[in-house]
Structures are given as structure tokens and as C-alpha cells.
Amino acid sequence: MSEPGPLPAEAVGIRTHPMTAVVQGALWSVGGAVALVGTTISGGGWGDLGLLLSFVVAVVGGLVIGIGFGFLTWYFTRYVIDGTELRITSGVLTKASRRIPYERIQSVDIAEPLVARLFGLAELRIEMAGGHDSRTTLRFLHIADVRELRRVLLARAHGQEIEESVAEDHRSLITRVPPQRIIVGTVLSLDLAFAMVGLIAAIVAAIWFDQVLVALGGLLPFGSTIVQIITKRVIEQWDFRLSRGDRGLRIERGLLSRTSQTIPFDRVQGIAVKEPFVWRRFGWQRLEVDIAGYAGNDDGEGGQSTSTLLPITDPALAAAIIAELIPGTQITPTARASAPRRSWLFAPIGWRYRWAGADPAAFVASQGWLERTTSLVPHHKTQSVELRQGPLQRWRNVATVEVHSPPGPVDADGRNLDARTARRMWEEQLDRI
């Protein structure tokens, strides 16, 4: 097909990299091949064909179908960048067109799934504010093109012309988290320990009762939990690099699939400092961040890995990064209120660790015994403030003050504080936001 002459190239749009067909096809054909191979194994081959031959047919068939579909989607996908927005049209039968106004862009990420990485390709992910389906992906482009596109989009998102935007190389590495540290941190986290204990208990029980079924019943849930934890916390956070640019922090991470995220300074809606039980002995912390748009996308990668700002760190660096993202805040404000003893009813042990407070820049609330979580929400990002009290709380003369932030890991609730104190905090919070 020849390009229609009179239309300028911009209006027609640009296709993504031709290898997309192959890569996307390869990704899809894995699924197809697995399904087809499954039928050959369970059925002992297809009809007259032998087992080996039908196996080969299944794999080849999966590849052909996958690449066929991959080619079609690639052929019909085009993107346009103009003065005001990015437009992506796609769809073979059902045409879809998405417009992304630059000013609504929350963040731009680059992902390199393993297969794409082998070909030097990458995927562009654009987050916009608003519920689910706020992520737009453009796959796949040459890695250099993706980087250039991200630079342009981020510059435009901040209302700059490309000409005056500075080159992206103004980056300084803040920290690199070595893989062994992530492994040690994961091994010492409680949920992994629980899953391990459960797994061992299941195996012991199976040997004791001499029943394979018992082992399977325990292996599946605990095993999958362990695999999930290791994937999320180790493989996806492998070789974690945090660097600083002109407009935001840059995160690069991943062992098999590399991901590169940008967190613009002014789009941080809140920060959570998490300290699991064992980590506290060593003074380690994990930092998670609330960015509008991230929470609604649990596409297998999970909210946890995308919202991680630092998988493991020491308090000094954590404090420095928090100070950079929310200028003028301390993690432990001087003016803070602890939950009173009479609130033990709601958290027999945890009440000792509950407090909330505010400093000129942010509202801070902390809670948790097994995993202590300190949440910070900057005042100028606070969406609303709520005071609540249930019948039991009324009996104990306590109340909860909640500072609402967009969906994400940050949940700044001062639970079960003294009722008068909670009301006073609520009122003070109104003056601050």
C-alpha cells in the first residue's frame, strides 16, 4: 500500500518498530504454544501424528499464529505527536484512538520485557491521572527512540518546547542498591519467613502422614507466595538504580525485564516508609511512593514494584530523599500525638506504635508492629481530611483522623487518637491545606 500523498506524515502517524510484530508475536506464541503442547501431552499426540511430531506442530503453529497477530496489530498501530497531544490509533477490526494531552501526563516509564530487550526494543508507558485504564502503552520502539520520546513527552508535560529543554544527560546517580542487599533484605522479611515455615510444615506433614496430596495442598499456596515474593522483591528490583534529574527521580531496575521510571518531583502525592520487624534491628527501610495513576494498573507487575522508590536503604539516605521530594519535612515531626493507652482494645500491641502529627510541609502518621509504616502526605497534595468515630471508639473516647491521598501505598491515618486531639488535628489540617 502506498502512502496517501497529500496528507503530511504527521497526521498519518508513525508506525512502531517493525520487529514489534516478531516480539509481540513471540510473547503471544508462548501462550499459544503452551496451550497446544498441553493438548498434545494430555492427549498423547493428535490422531495419527506421533507425539514428537505433534509437539513440533504445536510449537510452530503457536509461533505462526502469534506472529501473524503480532504483524496485524503492528500494521494498524500508529502514533502521532503534535503541538498539544500524543495520539495513538490501533486496532485491526475495532479501531481505537487515544489522545493524551501533554498536561495530563503524570509520568512516563520505559519497560524492556526480556524478549524485547534481546532485540534492543522497549515499550513506552504513559500514566495519566484517573481510575483504571489510565496507562497507555506504546510497544515496541527502538530503545533510543523510546528514550527520545520520553524526553520530549516529559518536557512537553512540563509545558516546555523541545528546543529549550535540556539534554537528558544531566543525571547524577543517588544510589545503586546491590542485588545481595536486596536478597538479604528479602530473606529477613517476615512474609517470606512465614511462607517458608508453612512450606516446611506442609512437607513435614506430608512425610509424617505419608500422603502426597497433603504436600501438594501446602506446596501450591506457599510455593506460589514464595515465588511471588522473590519475583517482586528480588528479580524486579535487581540492580536498582536511583538517579536525580532536573525534573524528577529516575528509577532503573530489573534482572530479566528492565524498567525505567521517572518520578517528577511535583507529582509525588505521598511517601510511605516501611520497616518490617527484623529490618528495624538493622535500621533498614523501604520507601514507597504514591503517584496518581500508578495504583490502578496491576498488570501482573503489581502495584508494589512500580510504587517502590527504594527497595532497601538506611534511614539517612531515606531522610535525604524524603527531604528532596517533600521539602521542609521531617519523618518524625516534633508536634505529634500518640494513641492513648485506652485504645489498646483496637490494637493490643500496635497501639504503642501509633502516632500522627504534622510539620509545616506534610501530615505524618505511623502505625504497625510487625511492619511499621510511616506515611507522609504533603499538605498541598492532600485531597480531603476526615474525622471519624464508631461506637466503640466513642466508648473509649478516641477518634480517627484520616488524610486522604490518591490510591496507592500511602495511607496516612491517625487511628484511635484521643478524641479531642484528633479533632484539633483535623482543624489544624484544614488551615494547612
Binding site: 497534595k381 492532600t382 485531597q383 480531603s384 471519624r388 468515630q389 464508631g390 461506637p391 484544614l430
Partner: protein, 170 residues
């Protein structure tokens, strides 16, 4: 002179001094949707008990529980309606509600993403509507039911206007 106040009244009092209360029709609507069905179930149960004596105590139990439900919901509807209140402060909209579980939400005008006005058939019959505020946070579920239609429209226009003039976005 200090006014004698119970702690919980004080705790959820309006910073502006008073609450604008919602229409008494809200209680009527709740009574129609909750109390009336319970009364009907109770009457049916009594009739069944008298007509089919072989069922013994079962219909009476149903009748008794629906009487409890009817009385409870009748009282709750009134108290709940009186508990709803809102106030327009300089910088934020304040909404309070709840009889057992009391809450008091403050939404700064600039953080409102959009404002909805909804009215079902029963609500339209009584000339009331529900105004719902949306911010970027899912936790801000701030709705005000039982507003007279004209007041609902006024409030929506006022909030939209204030939201635009103070909008900080996300």
C-alpha cells in the same frame, strides 16, 4: 458563658458554627424503602400464622423480627436524616453524617475533580437529589443526599465555580 455540650456533639460540630441540614424527605424516603417493606413482611407473616396453624411459631418469629426491623429503621431514618449536615467554609466544604459511625469530611474546593447530582425516581418524587463530590482520592466518598433539587443545583454550580477558581489539580 459556656454552653453545656456532650463530648460527641462537640467533636463533630461545625467549625463555621452551624450545619445546613438536609431535607426531612430523606427520612421519609428511607422509611418508605426500609420500614414499609418490613411492615408488609410482618403483616404477611401474621396472616400466614393465623391461616396455617401447623407452622406454629415460625411465622411469629418472622413477624416479631420484622416489627423490630420496622421500629429500628423508623427511628434510624429520622436520626440519620438529622445527622446529615454540610457547611460551606471559606476554603472547604464540610460534610458530616452518621448516627453510630460518625464522620466529618472536609474537602478543599480546589481539590474537587467533579461534582455529580443524582436523583432516583423516589427522590425525584420528593423533589430531592444527591450531590457527590469526587477528588483524586478514592477515599473521599463525600455525598450529600436529600438536598432539595434547587439547592442541589445551586451547590453543584457553586462548587464547580469554586473548584475552577481554586483548582490545583493533582
Amino acid at each position: 458563658m459556656k454552653q453545656p455540650m456532650t463530648p460527641e456533639d462537640d467533636l463533630f460540630s461545625s467549625p463555621t458554627g452551624e450545619w445546613t441540614r438536609v431535607s426531612a424527605s430523606l427520612a421519609t424516603i428511607h422509611r418508605l424503602t426500609m420500614t414499609a417493606p418490613a411492615v408488609v413482611v410482618g403483616i404477611v407473616a401474621v396472616v400466614v400464622a393465623l391461616v396455617v396453624p401447623s407452622l406454629q411459631w415460625i411465622p411469629w418469629l418472622v413477624a416479631a423480627s420484622s416489627v423490630v426491623e420496622a421500629i429500628g429503621s423508623f427511628i434510624w431514618a429520622g436520626r440519620s436524616q438529622r445527622a446529615w449536615g454540610y457547611a460551606e467554609n471559606d476554603e472547604d466544604l464540610l460534610v458530616t453524617s452518621g448516627v453510630m459511625f460518625k464522620r466529618l469530611v472536609a474537602v478543599p474546593y480546589g481539590r474537587m475533580q467533579f461534582v455529580d447530582v443524582q436523583a432516583g425516581p423516589l427522590q425525584r418524587f420528593f423533589g430531592v437529589a444527591t450531590v457527590t463530590l469526587h477528588t483524586a482520592s478514592a477515599e473521599t466518598t463525600s455525598n450529600i443526599p436529600g438536598l432539595p433539587s434547587s439547592e442541589a443545583t445551586r451547590l453543584r454550580n457553586r462548587l464547580t465555580e469554586l473548584g475552577e477558581s481554586r483548582g490545583a489539580g493533582v
